[in-house]
Every structure is written in structure tokens, then in C-alpha cells.
Amino acid sequence: MAELTRDEVVQRVKLKKSLARADLSGLDLAGAVLEGIDFGRADLEGTNLEGAKLRGANLRSASLREAFLKGADLSDANLEKADLEGANLEGSTLRGANLNRATLEGATLTQAVLVGARLTGAQLESADLGKADLQNAVLSHAELGEAYLGGAKLGSAELSNADLTAANLEEADLSKAILNDAELEGVKAPSANFSGATLMRCNFSKAILTNANLTGVDARHANFDETDLGGAILTGARLFSATTSTARYSAIQADWLDGSPNGDSSKRITGEDIAAFLAGKVAPGAAATRYFGEGDVLRDATLEFGEGSSIEIDSRFEKCSIALGEGTDLVVGEAGVLSECMITGGGNITIHGQFFEKQSPGIVGPRRLVVSSCGSLVGAVQQNSEDTVFAFQPGCRLRMKILRRG
């Protein structure tokens, strides 16, 4: 039973008094103006907060189980670690709210506005987010198993490492969303829009992506085992190293696919090659694709790769020499480490992992060298007659010297 009445709560709010740890369970606070009030660790279980104004309120670690928050304004509210299990937040506004590690299991968020909200590590299993607006929201590491996200707007949302197992994403808009390493097994996403989304290393096994728009997605290394891609649009999809051989892709639309390891459209797959590529058959020009998996260690080796081949290294190479043919793609994955190694030849080198030279210059004559935000490079780079194209993402760690030929 609540320890305060509605009038007492309103009175306290007028006096800007804190309601932290207060027992307000089951109280009717519909339409109350409670902006900026401190409800930290308060008990609001089953409380009726329909249409309440809670902008900027502190509800950190508060219990809002089965609370009725339909149409409430929770913009910029702090709901970190709050318990909202089974709460009804239909049509509520949570713009910019902090819901990090909040529990929203079985909550109703239909048509709620969560633009720019932070939901890192939030528990949203079986939550109903139908037609919710989650643009630019951060949902990384969020638990969304069996959640309903039908018609939700997730444009540019951050969903890296999120668990969306068996979630329903029918007709959801995920354009330009980031879903790296997300778990999407058994997801139902017919007619969903993933255009421009980053889906690297996503697991889409047994997912239903019929009529989905996957134009220009970066789905390198993604898993499409037994995925239903019937009628999907795949034009420009970057599918290097993606597992597509067991996927069903009848009546797909794809003018071309990007088979390049770097996802830079340097290897376009067109026409009949598309089917072969998706079927996992060796596509023309892709004969020398090699992958060195995580956990392997290679020492004192000399490796030579022919023209046009692709190599990806997630292993540890020690004191190795690698010769690249013209146009060869070498990708050092995030887990890859090239310690005391040397790379020569006019290939395209992308470093997501680490490279440490053996003797200067450690890299000789590359056509292109990219170091991503998580990559490290220690050594000198000797350019060829043609100048090397360099690209360094913000956040990369460099201790390098660029040398001109002669």
C-alpha cells in the first residue's frame, strides 16, 4: 500500500521535495506534473502514471513493475536500472531517456518515442515495441529475445551485440542501423528495411527475411544459414565471407553484389555469378580466398598470394613474410596480430587488428593501406612508384613512418 496519497505527492512535488525510496505503489498519479523529481529507488509498482509529466525525473533503480505509463512524458528521464517489467508505456515519450540496464521484460512500448534513448544492456525480452520510434537509439548489448518490433523505426540505431533471437521485425525500418555481432537467429523480418545497415558478423540463421530490403548492407562474415531471403533486395550487399550457401533466395533482386573483403565495391559480382556466389560456389576471380582463423599461430612462415586473391587473418603471425600480388586484398581482422612481420607487394591492406614490423620498412609498396578505428600499426611504410592510398580511421593507433621510393 502506498504511504502517501496523491495530494501529498503533489504537495511534495510543489515543494520540490525528493520522493526517493517512497512507497507510491498502486497510487493514481495520472496526469500529474512530476518533472525533475527524484524518485530514485521509489516503489511505483502498479502506479497509474497515465499522461504524467516526468520529464527529467530521476527514476534510477525505481520499481515500476506493471505501472501504467500510457502517454507519459519521460523525456530525458533517468531510468537506469529501473524495473519496468510488464509496464505499459504505450505512446509514451522517452526521447533521450537513459534506460541503460533497465528491465523492460514484457513491457508495452507500442508507438512510444525513444529517439536517442539509451538502452545499453536493457532487458526487453517479449517487449512490445510495435511502431515505436527508436531512431538513433543505443541498444547495444540489449536483450530483445522474442520482442515485437514490427513497424518500428530503428534508423541509425546502434544494436551491436544485441540479442534479437526470435524477435519480430516485420516491416521495421533498420536503415543505416548498426547490428555488428548481433544475434538474429530465427528473427522474423519480412519486408523489413535494412538498407545501408551494418550487419557484420550477424547471425541470421533460420531468419525470415522475405521481401526484406538489404540494399547496400555490409553483411560481411554474416551467417545466413537456412535464412529465407525469398524476394529480398540484395543489390550492392557486401557479402564477403558471408555464409549464404544454405539460404533460400528465390526471386531475389540483385543487380550486383560486393564480394570484396573490404566492402569497398572493388569486386562486383554480377549476372549469373550472383547465384554462384550466394551458393558458395567459387566465383570468378575469387579462387585464392584464404582465411586464417582466430586461435591459430603461424611462425617464421613465408606466404605468397597471387593477383586478385583475398586473405583475411584473424590468427597470430610471428616473424612471417607475406608477398601480395597486384590487387590482392589482405584484411587483418580485429583478432589478427602480425608480430615482427613484413608485407610486400601492391595489395590492398586493411588492418583492424595489429601489425608490428620486423625490420624497417615493415610494409613495402602497398596500393592502399587502411587502418580502422580498432587497428594498430607500428612500423614504416615504403611507397611504390604509385603513391599509396592511406586511410586512417579516428581512434586507430599508429606509430609509423611513410617513406617515398628512393
Binding site: 498502486g26 502498479g46 501504467f68 505499459n88 507500442t110 508507438q111 517479449s126 510495435g130 511502431k131 514490427g150
Partner: protein
């Protein structure tokens, strides 16, 4: 035909001739008591600055302080309170006079100037009123009693009805439970019985009247305070009982109307000049009262017509409705409400015709005729018989709840279905899956499941035998509530566990709980309890269960009492 009312020489209460005991004080009524008749007139404002409509019983045809034109003797405040309160003491059981309660209910509404709601469905409730309102309420309760007594006396003639001997005593509590009448009801516990007397104008409050009445109860809650006040009544209210047979209710209607309108000196046959002068106003009152009563007694008819709008109700509904319509028509004829009588007669004919048609359901022709005849009633008394608003309240809840019972139908599918204009039950009954798929773009398999869901529902509804108390639906609600309770308990049990199995069970139970709730919503909406559905949405599942159980208790109590 009714007999002349008589007056108790001990307490002054009125009753119909032939009654051997006073309905108020239980005294033996002498054979030579003065017969009395009833008429209605507008009362003075109950309190200063607060005009209040009142129905006042006056004596006509016989020497009477009121009929002779002078100011009637104002009874003391204490007496008024006792009169309002006394029946509460005698209220022995829920099997009170249905007609008398209906009258009291109608009168209460009239006093409050309220738009008539559905009295058959709304539980009678006490309310705490203090100050001027309480004074007025006590005065009103006392004046109402005299009229109620006449109607309630008809119960005396039902052999073996133990409650009949306290006919007016049962009617008055109903009045006392109405708006502003609760103080009277609470006073009943302490105050001795007093004779109902004609009240001319409000008098100052008596010091012994109870101003500190019990706390008010939420609108849909059962009359707990009354149950506490009368311990003998409490267990009976909790015991489910079969609703009053329709024949008995109809007998009430006939008898009561006869008692009110056909007695010598009634509004139809005023015996004196002053009474004649009041006739137009009295007639308006009578018509108003008739409409109020029609609202109660034709409640099942209205329900049937709503069902007819929504669904394909079984023919058994006709057996429920026809006698009520015929009886109300007869009463309308008796009062001289020719238009209403004609419309009711037309409806009775349409019912007869529909009942005689072949098959188990009402055919298109019957449906058309019924709607057409009912439309005439709506035209005459839209506030009583109007269906559109009621249908618009109920149908969206039913349709959405049914749709959401199909697992794949969520926000997107709902949007498509509504976007295609599929918003009514009838549309889903008539539509073919192919048509729905074409119109909405939803997969054919899903459309098949949707249509099948609606057909199953239609068949299930058709299998529920109709009755005025909607017992079948309420039993189903009860059954589902028990299920909801179990699921919720299991869910809460699992919520405390951290195992993966518990998490899985929790997900399953959450879904089951929601599905059961949707089924309950459908039934409650069918029963016209849209407000309850809205309230339930705002509650936790535990409180949902309690609220539904409270509603079911109130329904049972109503079923026991009859309309």
C-alpha cells in the same frame, strides 16, 4: 387490476388493499383503513440555493392534508430520517421486490436529474452525503417510500415469498442506497421504524440523524456497507441464486403499473380540481417514470438488439424479449402512451415473426423487421433505446481483442486490417480469407486464421443460452478469471526464480495471462462493461483479478434481486 391503496393506522405507511400487514411497521392493517391514491407533483427546492426535483406522494379523493390544498404537516426531521432508514432494518434478503427497486431507481434518477443509465446493470450503491444534500436526501427517501410501497405490495401476493411481507422495506433500501440517500440508510441501523408521511417541504435536520455515514464505495463495487449493516443479508448476497423468472418480473410490471396508474384519483382520473390542474405536469412525470422503468425492463431487449447489430444471436433471445415487450406495451396502452404502445406492439410483432421463422438463427428478413421496428422506438426515446453509441463502445474492444488472440496479429497487421476498413464483427463474419488478403496484403494463411477466429467466436457466442441476467457470459467470465488467477500466481512464482527454465515458463505464462485477459475483455465488452475493461487496463494483474471478482459478485447480487 390494482386495488385501492390503504394506509396503516399505526405508522401511516401506504399499501395496497388486501395487505394484511403494514409494509413499514408490520402492524395489522384494520379493514376500515382509508384507501389512498397516488399522484406526483413537483416538490419545493430541497435546500436553499439548490433546487432539487422531488416526487411527492399526495392523497387524492379522500380527506387528506395535502389534497385539501393547505400546506401538509411537515414531519419532524427525525421522523423523516427514520422513515428513510427503517426499511433497512427490515431488509431481510436480496429477494426484494424487483419492481419496487426499479421504481425507486427510476425515481432516484429523476430526483438527481440524471440521464438514465442502465439500471439493470448498475449496482446500487451507497454514497456519503452530508450537509444540505443529506437533508434533502432523507426527505426524498421518505417521500419515495410511499410510492414504492404501493408497487412493492404486489409482492405480498406471491405465495411463499417470505420477503414479500416486507415489500416496501425492500424498496426503500434501494432508494436509500441511491444518490444522496446513504445517510438515511446508515441511520436505519439505529433509528426505529417510522411511518412514511407526506413531506411538503424540507425541515431543519434532526439532531439524531446520522451525518457520519459509512465511507463511500467505488462506483461499481457492491453494497458492502449495507451488507455490514444487515448481517442477515450478507450471506444471502454472496450465495449465487438463479435470476428471477421472467414471468415473475412481468407480473411485477403489470401489477405495479396497475397499482400506480389505475387507482381511483390517479393522474388519468383526477377526482378533484387541484389534481386536474396538475395533470399535464403529472403526466410528464408519469411518462418520464415509464421510460425509466422501460429502460430497466427492456434492458434485455436492448442487449438483444445490440447483439443483433453485432452478431447473429440465437433465437432463444426472442423468448427472453417478447414477454417483456408485450407487457410494456400493455402498460403503455394503460397509461395512454399511444405512440410508444404502437412502437412496442410493432416490435412485439416482429419478434413473433422472427421467432416463427425456420432455422436456429434469426434470418435476414427477421433481422430487418426487428431493426426497423426497433428504430421506431429509438426515434421515440433515443436516450433509452439508442444502440449506436452502445455498439460503438463495445464493438472496437471485441474486434481488437479477437484479432489480438491470433498470435501473428500485432501492430502492423492491425494497422493493415483497420486501414482496409475491416473494423466490425459483421465484416469479419462475412469476409472471405482471400478478400481480406487482397485488401490488406497480409498472408493468406494469416487471413484464414483470422476469419476462423471470428467464426469460432460467433459459434461460441451462439451456444451461450440468453437470459436477462447474462448468466452464461458471467459464468464464462468467472471461469476465465479463475484461470487468470492461476496463471498470475504461477507467473509471480516463476518471477522469483532465476533458472532458464523459469524464464521460459515465465514467457509462456505471460502470454497465457494476456490471452485470457483478451478473452475476458471480449466478454465484458459484450456485457456492456466497457468502463470496467478500461479500468482493468490500468491495473496490475493481481488487482485485475480482484476487480473482476468484485464485478462478478455484484452481478450475482443483481441476478438474485432481478432487474
Amino acid at each position: 387490476m390494482a386495488e385501492n391503496p390503504v394506509r396503516c393506522s399505526n405508522c401511516g405507511a401506504y399499501g395496497l388493499a388486501g395487505a394484511r400487514f403494514c409494509v413499514q411497521c408490520g402492524s395489522v392493517i384494520a379493514a376500515d383503513v382509508v384507501p389512498a391514491t397516488m399522484s406526483f407533483q413537483q416538490a419545493q427546492p430541497a435546500t436553499e440555493g439548490e433546487p432539487k426535483r422531488n416526487l411527492k406522494a399526495t392523497l387524492a379523493g379522500q380527506p387528506s392534508p395535502v389534497r385539501t390544498g393547505g400546506a401538509p404537516p411537515a414531519p419532524s426531521r427525525a421522523k423523516q430520517a427514520r422513515r428513510a432508514a427503517a426499511p433497512e432494518v427490515e431488509a431481510e434478503g436480496p429477494a426484494s421486490s424487483s419492481m419496487s427497486e426499479a421504481l425507486a431507481q427510476a425515481v432516484r434518477e429523476q430526483m438527481a436529474g440524471a440521464q438514465p443509465s442502465a439500471p439493470a446493470k448498475a449496482p446500487l450503491k451507497p454514497a456519503t452525503v452530508s450537509g444540505p444534500e443529506a437533508k434533502a436526501a432523507r426527505a426524498d427517501a421518505a417521500t419515495v417510500q410511499a410510492k414504492v410501497a404501493a408497487a412493492a405490495e404486489t409482492r405480498n401476493r406471491v405465495p411463499g415469498n417470505s420477503a414479500a411481507r416486507s415489500g416496501s422495506a425492500q424498496g426503500a433500501p434501494a432508494a436509500a442506497k441511491g444518490k444522496g440517500a446513504a445517510p438515511g440508510a446508515s441511520a436505519a441501523v439505529r433509528a426505529p421504524q417510522a411511518a412514511p408521511r407526506v413531506v411538503a417541504e424540507p425541515t431543519p435536520p434532526a439532531p439524531e440523524t446520522s451525518e457520519n455515514a459509512p465511507a463511500p464505495v467505488a462506483s461499481s463495487q457492491p453494497d458492502e456497507s449495507a451488507a455490514q449493516a444487515s448481517p442477515a443479508r450478507q450471506p444471502q448476497e454472496r450465495t449465487p441464486a438463479a435470476p428471477l423468472p421472467i414471468s415473475q418480473m412481468l407480473e411485477d410490471i403489470d401489477d405495479s403499473f396497475d397499482a400506480i396508474f389505475s387507482a381511483p384519483g390517479s393522474t388519468r382520473a383526477p377526482a378533484t380540481a387541484p389534481a386536474a390542474a396538475e395533470e399535464p405536469r403529472d403526466r410528464a412525470e408519469v411518462e418520464h417514470l415509464f421510460k425509466q422503468i422501460a429502460l430497466t425492463y427492456l434492458g434485455p431487449v436492448r442487449d438483444f438488439m445490440v447483439e443483433l447489430e453485432l452478431d447473429d444471436p440465437p433465437k432463444e433471445w426472442i423468448d427472453v424479449c417478447k414477454p417483456a415487450v408485450v407487457s410494456m406495451q400493455r402498460s403503455a396502452v394503460g397509461i395512454g402512451l399511444e405512440d410508444l404502445a404502437g412502437a412496442l406492439g410493432g416490435l412485439a410483432g416482429a419478434l413473433e415473426e422472427a421467432g416463427g421463422s425456420e432455422g436456429n438463427s434469426i434470418g435476414d428478413a427477421g433481422r430487418h423487421a426487428l431493426k426497423s421496428e426497433y428504430a421506431k422506438l429509438v426515434k421515440l426515446i433515443p436516450e433509452t433505446f439508442g444502440l449506436q453509441e452502445e455498439r460503438d463502445r463495445r464493438e472496437p474492444i471485441i474486434v481488437q481483442s479477437l484479432l489480438r488472440q491470433v498470435p501473428e496479429v500485432r501492430a502492423v497487421a492491425l494497422g493493415k486490417l483497420y486501414g482496409a476498413g475491416l473494423t466490425t464483427l459483421r465484416m469479419f463474419y462475412m469476409a472471405r480469407p482471400n478478400d481480406v488478403a487482397d485488401a490488406t496484403g497480409l498472408p493468406l494463411e494469416l487471413c484464414e486464421r483470422i476469419i476462423q477466429r471470428f467464426r469460432d467466436y460467433k459459434n461460441r457466442i451462439a451456444s451461450i443460452p440468453p437470459d436477462p441476467g447474462r448468466t452464461g457470459e458471467n459464468e464464462k467470465v468467472e471461469e476465465l478469471t479463475e484461470k487468470l488467477k492461476q496463471y498470475n500466481q504461477a507467473f509471480e512464482g516463476n518471477a522469483k526464480s532465476w533458472s532458464s527454465r523459469a524464464a521460459k515458463d515465465k514467457r509462456r505464462l505471460r502470454q497465457q495471462r494476456s490471452d485470457v485477459m483478451l478473452e475476458i475483455n471480449v466478454l465484458l465488452a459484450r456485457l456492456g462493461e466497457v468502463g470496467l475493461v478500461m479500468r482493468l487496463e490500468r491495473l496490475t494483474f493481481q488487482r485485475k483479478v480482484k476487480e473482476i471478482e468484485r464485478y462478478l459478485e455484484a452481478s450475482k447480487a443483481r441476478a438474485q434481486k432481478g432487474p
